[in-house]
């Protein structure tokens, strides 16, 4: 029983007592499945099991995987990012031009595409989408998309041409038009408030993708139907026209053993979030595992240097050297979770191998701590000026096996005389404590997005700011990444950030995080967008 559940019961029990007292793919070919298959078959309904219930279908908030899995299938985007090459390809936009300093983008639209209520996907509709995502709509509670920087305005040139302008170079914008955060919605849907994008209203969301939501059972089930008239898949796809499936039945099954069991017992066709310890069971039963990478900032532990205990770079370097990421991967995870070699994933744009900074070296760690003046106390934990080198980290619920990972890290750190307390907390305490570097000196997180900007999202003080940084130099380096129009120079600037993070020992990269799915042998055409959200357009069933 989860803690929230226990609290719910306790709360109700308390009230009950009171009452008593008182009263009385990309693409080209269906490639996902291993077994050679015949020609795709049209028809059938896919039973897909989700780990968590979706919270909101407003595309800029679709980063949460349960939201993204839905938005990815009900919306088309201006462009498509090929998940293998990471190139940006046409989709709703047939072509585009970008001015030299990346402050003006003009897109030509294909014209014949429509939203599921029949309204055309024209320049005015696209302009309204990006005005909303780029500027937000405070009156409706709609937030600005994290993927869009420096947005200024849109201009409808003609019915099929739209121009976007930026107050400063926005080289990440083209990639942003391909992400689910920029999923195209009908103009009327964009007049909904943020609440109306929430649960209970899913059938009102009018998108532009191959599927529409036809039914919702609050918090537990969604039903999708294929759009018969959908005919605007990215031109690079071999498959055009409507989706092969007639529909999808998405069911929320939070319990791991229920999801795995349903798949193996033939009650479900496709499940998200196969835990590392269940992978062997799925494969040995003859089922398929898919582990698309999330290609962004790796699963890592941030060292919040504004905490006085971590202000000395030698202490941070010691902690980095005292963590054995290989052991984490070997004991808790599988081959689908490669050991990290930089703050960025090796499949991310701009990646640089920084492994020399991240070698496990407990002896070096001990030396560094000795140099920094931390001496072993009576219980083996180091002390200095009467202070213990004792740090806290909270279990991060969205990260796979976060608690187990952190507990192993704590064991490793104990060997060099650093105490790490791994805490679990209710949502409220967690939300408050992680904003305080004294209460939460170490922070476990990751973020996936297949663009250079992802590193700024994670570390800039105006974005996620996971380090709770006050380092102006770090901010400056990150701003260069987000505003450098020349792709070659963007690679350099991204590598400069990775160098800086490694030299300053600001992060302990652990592993490159995948999303792990399981499918039945008769499920073909399994594909993912560039950061591992499922695409059901090409899926077909052979049973």
């Amino acid at each position: 029983m989860s803690r929230p559940a226990i609290r719910a019961v306790a709360a109700l029990a308390a009230v009950a007592t009171a009452a008593t007292l008182a009263s009385c793919a990309s693409s080209s070919a269906p490639s996902g499945s291993g077994a050679p298959a015949g020609d795709p078959v049209t028809g059938g309904t896919l039973t897909y099991l989700e780990h968590q219930t979706f919270t909101n279908l407003y595309p800029p908030q679709a980063g949460f995987y349960p939201n993204g899995g839905v938005v990815n299938n009900i919306t088309a985007r201006l462009t498509w990012q090929n998940p293998e090459t990471l190139e940006i390809e046409p989709w709703i936009a047939t072509e585009w031009t970008v001015n030299e300093d990346a402050t003006e983008y003009t897109f030509d639209l294909r014209g014949e595409a429509t939203f599921s209520d029949g309204t055309p996907i024209d320049a005015a509709a696209v302009a309204k989408n990006f005005d909303t995502y780029g500027l937000g709509n405070p009156g409706l509670g709609l937030t600005v998309s994290e993927a869009i920087n420096n947005y200024e305005s849109s201009q409808v040139v003609d019915e099929d041409t739209v121009t976007f302008r930026f107050s400063a170079p926005a080289p990440g914008f083209l990639q942003a038009t391909s992400t689910i955060n920029s999923g195209l919605l009908s103009p009327e849907t964009l007049d909904l408030s943020l609440e109306e994008f929430g649960a209970g209203n899913a059938t009102e969301i009018v998108g532009s993708g191959p599927f529409v939501i036809t039914d919702e059972r609050l918090g537990t089930e969604l039903t999708f139907e294929a759009r018969e008239d959908y005919d605007w898949a990215p031109p690079s796809f071999e498959h055009q026209g409507r989706a092969y499936l007639d529909g999808i039945h998405l069911i929320v099954a939070p319990e791991d053993s229920v999801r795995i069991g349903s798949l193996l017992a033939g009650q479900a066709d496709y499940i998200r979030y196969v835990q590392a310890f269940d992978e062997a069971r799925v494969e040995s039963a003859g089922f398929e595992l898919h582990a698309p990478q999330t290609r962004g900032v790796n699963n890592s532990i941030g060292l919040r240097f504004t905490n006085p205990l971590l202000s000395d770079v030698r202490v941070r370097q010691a902690i980095v050297a005292g963590v054995d990421a290989q052991e984490v991967v070997d004991t808790i995870f599988t081959a689908n979770y490669p050991k990290a070699t930089s703050a960025l994933s090796s499949t991310a744009l701009g990646y640089k191998d920084e492994s020399s900074f991240y070698e496990y070296d407990p002896e070096r760690a001990q030396e560094l701590l000795d140099e920094a003046g931390w001496e072993a106390g009576s219980d083996g934990i180091r002390e200095k000026d009467g202070q213990r080198l004792s740090l806290t980290v909270y279990e991060a619920k969205p990260q796979p096996l976060s608690k187990q990972t952190l507990e192993l890290v704590a064991q490793q750190l104990k060997k060099i005389g650093v105490e790490l307390n791994v805490k679990s907390a209710d949502a409220g305490t967690y939300a408050e404590d992680i904003k305080d570097p004294v209460k939460t000196p170490l922070y476990h997180s990751m973020v996936g997005r297949a663009d250079f900007d992802v590193i700024k999202s994670q570390f800039h003080t105006e974005n996620r700011n996971t380090l709770l940084s006050d380092d102006a130099e770090l901010d400056r380096l990150l701003e260069v990444v987000a505003s450098e129009p020349d792709p070659a120079k963007r690679v350099e600037s991204s590598q400069a950030v990775q160098d800086y993070l490694a030299e300053q020992a600001y992060v302990i990269p652990l592993f490159e995080e995948p999303q792990v799915y399981g499918t039945a042998p008769y499920v073909h055409g399994v594909e993912y967008e560039s950061v591992g959200r499922p695409l059901f357009y090409d899926v077909w069933l052979d049973k």
Binding site: L12, C24, E146, G219, S257, V258
Partner: protein, 330 residues
């Protein structure tokens, strides 16, 4: 009439008390729904944007002001909107309720059947070892975690034997395993009370008289003992309502069923105060109704309680050690 009015007044006081207590408890918790949902690194919002959202939701006002605003809303029949989903609280509860009522109602019925079966079989059993075995069952049942039982039933009957699908099952079939999961732990205290009060009633003089007249053991049980033994059980049944709701939370989560339990679990996890308030008021209301129904059933089962003051007659007829009915002394 006066009795009914007094009961209605009590009910209103209980409702407001339940509402107030939850409101105060929730205020004491660290954080709030807006913080949890928006002031989260995952969204990358700036401090000004979050402040604007706080103002829009009115969580920047002092707690007593929020308390009065929401209380006034309740009195007007407006239950507010979920801060997590934006859905109306009444809509959220209204959609989840039928599923939970079906689960809890049938679960309770099955629990009663189980409890009666255990108690009567153990009483009638001619063998000591069987009797002792049956009497041990409630102790075992009460110590089984609902969560574990649910998983076990799914693994054995759905995945192992393939008798009942749990994904995409039709509504009736889909109820079988959740109902069992819920019924087993609820049946345990019921059976325990029933066994004990059957034993106690059987020692009463009037039973000896019936037996002396030549009635068989089972006849004695069904005609004379059962009726009297059922009173304390019924009282406990009313109190068990709370446990039923708690069991539903776990059962619905394990089986991925829609319902109040799931809604509550989510609302607690996200400190969705408007939804929690709605659920608490609903729970308190139902609790009052259930207890009222139990009270009104006493006179039906026990003719001695039908006329005049209940207290005057009760002392002589009801065995001393029987738990006093919840309402009898009010």
């Amino acid at each position: 009439m006066r009795y009914a009015l007094r009961r209605a007044g009590q009910a209103a006081i209980v409702l407001i008390a339940a509402y107030t207590v939850t409101f105060l408890l929730l205020q004491l918790l660290p954080g709030d729904a807006i913080l949890i949902r928006y002031d989260n690194p995952e969204l990358g919002l700036s401090a000004e944007q979050i402040q604007q959202i706080r103002i829009n939701y009115g969580v920047d006002t002092p707690w007593w002001q929020q308390y009065l605003t929401t209380l006034a809303g309740y009195l007007r029949g407006e239950f507010g909107y979920s801060t997590q989903y934006g859905t109306g609280v009444l809509e959220l509860i209204g959609e989840a309720l039928p599923s939970t009522v079906a689960l809890a109602g049938i679960g309770f019925l099955v629990a009663v059947i189980l409890a009666v079966a255990i108690a009567f079989l153990s009483t009638l059993s001619p063998f000591g070892w069987l009797r002792r075995g049956l009497q041990a069952i409630p102790g075992v049942f009460v110590s089984i975690p609902v969560f574990w039982l649910g998983i076990l039933l799914i693994q054995v009957f759905s995945f192992g034997l393939g008798w009942v699908p749990i994904v995409g099952a039709d509504p009736v079939v889909g109820l079988i395993l959740p109902v069992l999961t819920l019924a087993v732990p609820i049946s345990a205290p019921l059976a325990q009370i029933l066994i004990r009060s059957v034993d106690e009633v059987r020692l009463q003089p009037f039973v000896t008289v019936v037996r002396a007249k030549g009635a068989s053991e089972s006849r004695v049980l069904f005609t004379s003992v059962a009726r009297n033994a059922i009173l304390p059980t019924l009282t406990i049944a009313g109190v068990l309502f709370g446990e039923l709701v708690g069991g539903a939370v776990v059962t619905e989560t394990v089986f991925g069923r829609p319902g109040i339990g799931r809604v509550t679990e989510q609302a607690v996890a996200n400190q969705d105060i408007p939804v929690l308030q709605g659920i608490v008021v609903l729970a308190a209301f139902t609790f009052i109704v259930v207890n009222l129904a139990v009270d009104l059933l006493y006179p039906v089962l026990d003719p001695r309680l039908r006329s005049g003051s209940r207290r005057a007659n009760a002392g002589t007829a009801v065995p001393e050690s029987t738990p006093t009915p919840v309402e009898a002394s009010a």
